[in-house]
């Protein structure tokens, strides 16, 4: 079988590809990876998101960051736009997400010991889900939270999102 080369999606990057292609993001901790896929055109996109949202005040004033792909709200809007430009239908797009771990559990104490601030991983996951909802993209699968890093691989031939961890575990959404 021919090996499909993987396209690397780095931190705060967003890339799209048409089947057959693999989009791959390595070593996500608190970051969240979002895969959007259109099963009919078999075009997919992967975003490697660092932060929940760009400042609302600045957004209203039309002041945009140098790299919008860092932020869940802006990155998902742009990823959706690019996929539609490439020929995907808005109503066919579906999402799978993974990441949002808490790598240093000692920085965020156990919730059973009283109320604690949500971890940055939790905040990223929540922001991603809220924005998917806002953009009308259904969430088809998720593997989020925990205390382990993840490597993600979106197969644009099938829409499968494969997740591997440093302990060698592998699961497919």
């Amino acid at each position: 079988m021919m090996q499909t080369p993987a396209i690397k999606v780095r931190i705060a990057e967003c890339k799209i590809a048409r089947a057959p292609a693999l989009l791959k993001s390595y070593g996500l901790g608190s970051c969240v990876g979002v895969a959007l896929y259109d099963p009919q055109t078999r075009i997919g996109g992967l975003a490697h998101i660092l932060l929940p949202a760009w400042s609302k005040a600045k957004k209203r004033a039309g002041d945009l960051p140098r790299n919008p792909m860092k932020y869940a709200d802006l990155a998902l809007e742009r990823l959706q736009e690019h996929l539609i430009e490439e020929g995907c239908a808005q109503e066919r797009l579906e999402a799978k997400i993974a990441g949002g771990a808490n790598m240093f559990s000692s920085l965020f104490p156990n919730p059973s010991q009283g109320p604690v601030k949500p971890t940055i991983g939790d905040r990223n996951v929540r922001a991603v889900k809220e924005n998917l909802k806002r953009l009308g993209i259904p969430l088809r699968g998720e593997d989020v939270g925990g205390e382990e890093g993840r490597t993600l691989e979106l197969d644009t031939s099938t829409g499968a999102l494969r997740i591997t961890t440093s302990r060698g575990l592998s699961r497919v959404l």
């Binding site: 780095r10 931190i11 705060a12 990057e13 390595y26 070593g27 996500l28 901790g29 608190s30 970051c31 660092l50 932060l51 960051p65 140098r66 790299n67 860092k70 771990a101 790598m103 240093f104 559990s105 000692s106 920085l107 940055i120 205390e147 382990e148 890093g149 993840r150 490597t151 440093s166 302990r167 060698g168």
Partner: protein, 217 residues
Amino acid sequence: MAKPKLSIMDQLRDVHLDALQEICNIGMGHAATALSQMIGKTVNLNVPKVTLAGLDQVPDIIGGAEQVVVGIYLQVWGDFRGNLLLIFPRDSAQNLNALLTGQPATSELILSEIHASALKEVANILAGAYLGAMGNLLGLSLLPSVPSLAFDMAGAIVDYILIELGQESDLTLVVETQFFGMGSTIRGHFFLLPDPNSLKLILEASRVEPLIRSGRD
């Protein structure tokens, strides 16, 4: 049209990077001496490497996003804010642990409580000596936080720090010092990633050319 705002990262020049390198070199010298006393072996150092990098380049600088390493993270508190990260390749962490605790590693993929605690202690000693020496030199009070440890992919370990830094900037300064002992069976990388807002303070305290006052990124 509004003038584009200059962030501190846009204004950094070689003279600033050189000053930072020298300060960190002195700090790391003290840290290596402290580690050497702790393990009873000679510890050698490389000259610190100062890199101004995009956030997305940092996982490669610390050894590759998917490389499984032991990472110990400390925040810098006091007059100056920043992040310290001590990275050991898996085999070096095991060799260092065998030396410190006399107990061989039980598994390739899990660190026992005693091993994790010994490595955090190493980070404490390195960070205390490093920040103490830098603080003395600059007349600033610099304190390390309690260390946190993760045994995982380097990218996953460092992205917490990148998220903190990413709120202010798309770029970061990375000061890397490599140290090694017992031939090269123990190798470690010590990283300082200063908070962009604190960078000005550290450079002013080192009395190199002043930076222009400007808006934040």
